[in-house]
Each structure stands twice: as structure tokens, then as C-alpha cells.
């Protein structure tokens, strides 16, 4: 479970970076910046125990979630008032990234709560099974979220 926050953050970063491609600069810059930060923090979280900078990370995750919710609600809300807002990013990308960000936040909180406990005995197979399960879930969510964006919109299964 130690690797899960890092893997979820890398997945969210990849979705934000991938969905930024082909959008207007006003959307591209914040999304690419957010994606790069998530990717870097995710790699750092894999390399360090406990996770690095948990409080700034929690604030960043909160902000990313707020941005995701606003981006999801803005187009339908604008349409209801007669105007059109197109961010160039499909809702599924924000949903996928939001899901992974939420998971990251919850896992960081769980690790902080368990911070005082002494680490268990070394179990390589258990470590690998846990990492493999998280890698598989993150890979499926990330690929499906990116498949709906401009870079993956025309992809076929085979």
C-alpha cells in the first residue's frame, strides 16, 4: 500500500498532461503545470517514505479537485444560461483524474494516520502484489480517460 499514493498521482498527472495537448493556451498551461506537478510528486512519493510534503500535497490535491469539479460543471451551466464554453477536454478525463486525485488524498491521509506505527516485517511478494494491483487499476483508468481526449479520440481496440 506504500506505493499506491505515488502511482495514483502519476496516473492523474498523465491524464492532465495528455488532455492538455491540443487545447487553447488558457487551458493548456494550467493543466500541463498541474500534470507535471502530480507526476513529479508521484515519483518522489514512490522514492520516499513517508510521502514528501504531505500538507502542500493535500492542498494541491484539494485545488486539483476543485478545478476538476468546476471544469465539469462549467459547460452545462453556461449552456443553461445561453452561452457556450468548450474547454476542449472531455468530462471523462476530468472524472478519471479526479478519481485518482481523490484516491491519492485518501491514501496520504491514511499513511499520515499510520505514521506512528512501526513498519511490519519485510514481505517482497506482498509488496509486489500490492504494487501490481495498484498499477493495473491506475493503468486502466488512465488509458480509458486518455482514450476520450483529442490524442486518443480515434483509437480503436484493435
Amino acid at each position: 500500500m506504500r506505493t499506491w499514493p505515488g502511482l495514483a498521482a502519476i496516473g492523474a498527472g498523465l491524464i492532465h498532461l495528455g488532455s492538455a495537448a491540443g487545447t487553447s493556451p488558457a487551458v493548456l498551461v494550467p493543466l500541463a503545470l498541474l500534470g507535471a506537478l502530480e507526476l513529479l510528486w508521484g515519483v518522489a512519493a514512490l522514492a520516499r517514505t513517508p510521502v514528501p510534503a504531505p500538507v502542500p500535497a493535500a492542498v494541491g490535491i484539494g485545488l486539483a479537485l476543485v478545478v476538476g469539479v468546476v471544469a465539469l460543471l462549467l459547460p452545462p451551466s453556461a449552456a443553461r444560461h445561453g452561452s457556450m464554453v468548450d474547454l476542449g477536454v472531455p468530462p471523462s478525463a476530468f472524472l478519471g483524474a479526479g478519481l485518482l486525485d481523490l484516491a491519492t488524498g485518501m491514501l496520504v491521509a491514511l499513511q499520515l494516520l499510520r505514521a506512528g506505527r512501526t513498519p511490519g516485517e519485510s514481505r517482497p511478494v506482498r509488496f509486489l502484489l500490492g504494487a501490481a494491483a495498484a498499477a493495473a487499476v491506475v493503468a486502466v483508468v488512465t488509458t480509458q480517460s486518455l482514450a476520450a481526449t483529442s490524442v486518443g479520440g480515434t483509437m480503436q481496440m484493435h
Binding site: 502511482l7 498523465l14 514512490l46 517482497p124 501490481a132 491506475v138 480515434t154 484493435h158
Partner: protein, 163 residues
């Protein structure tokens, strides 16, 4: 000893990096060999028509198979060595697969993946597999056997016979 600490002369069953390098190495060599049964009439470095998918899922071409064989061999050799060599190989292959996981989307975007730019004949299941491999290899390289370097790691202790 925690698995993220220095563990000189790490035995195979105690090193997550050696286990995963050996396992992934074997699987990639097997997939690389198996793939040659599905590339009849497929360009060496271009997309196929969909019939070139291993078990109807993962599209390949001859270049893709050769890449699998080379990556598998590198992981097998590293996994048979020390935890430090396995960790270095896992990190390098993981980073390359992460890059491919992202760049792959741009290669498969034109013409639904049937453009010549898709030189590895990638499809969605390939992306999922490459990304999952990247994440697992990176997580293991960065999260386990952290102190294992060529300088710190000693050979596994040999049993000695006393007369």
C-alpha cells in the same frame, strides 16, 4: 530488515526488484517469441490491419517483437544478477515504458492507429499493458531495495565446508 533498506547480497526471494525483473523478463521474452506467429504479412515497422493481435488483443509487428525480446533479455540478465542491477534495469525500462505510454497515444491518434507513424503497431490494450508495466517497474525500482547499489551490494554468502 525492511525491504526498502540496504540489504547486501540480497537473495532472490528477498529482493522485489530481482523477482519482478526475472518475472517480467520471462514474460516479455515469451511474448516476443509468441508474437512472431501473428505477424504474417505485417510491415516490419508499420501498423497491421488488426489481424496481427496476439490472442486478438495486443497488436504487434516484427519490430515490436524484437523490442520485447531485447527488453525481456535485459530484465532476465539483470534479475539473475544482483538487486542493484535489477533495480537499475527496472527503473530504466519503467521510465522508457512510461514515455511510450504517453507518446504511444500520439502515435496511434492519426487514422485510428493505421497511419505509418504508428511504427510499433500499438493499440489500446498495448497502451494499458505498457502503462501497467511502467508503473509496476518504477514503483519497485523506487520503492524497494533502496540502498542496493553496486558499491554497497556484496555477493551472496557461500556455504563453506570445514574438514
Amino acid at each position: 530488515m525492511p525491504i526498502n533498506q540496504i540489504n547486501p547480497g540480497t537473495a532472490f526471494h528477498r529482493s522485489p526488484n530481482r523477482i519482478i525483473a526475472f518475472l517480467f523478463g520471462g514474460v516479455y521474452v515469451l511474448v516476443g517469441l509468441l508474437g512472431f506467429f501473428w505477424v504474417n504479412g505485417v510491415p516490419f515497422a508499420g501498423p497491421g490491419d488488426g489481424s496481427n493481435a496476439i490472442f486478438g488483443l495486443f497488436e504487434v509487428n516484427p519490430l515490436h517483437n524484437i523490442a520485447h525480446l531485447l527488453i525481456g533479455a535485459a530484465l532476465l540478465i539483470a534479475g539473475a544478477g544482483t538487486a542493484a542491477s535489477a533495480r537499475a534495469a527496472n527503473g530504466t525500462v519503467g521510465a522508457l515504458y512510461l514515455l511510450l505510454g504517453v507518446v504511444g497515444f500520439f502515435l496511434t491518434a492519426p487514422d485510428g492507429g493505421r497511419s505509418p507513424i504508428n511504427f510499433l503497431s500499438l493499440n489500446v490494450p498495448d497502451h494499458i499493458l505498457h502503462l501497467a508495466s511502467a508503473l509496476l517497474l518504477l514503483a519497485t525500482a523506487l520503492g524497494a531495495d533502496r540502498g542496493a547499489t553496486r558499491a554497497t551490494e556484496q555477493p551472496e554468502p557461500q556455504s563453506t565446508l570445514h574438514a
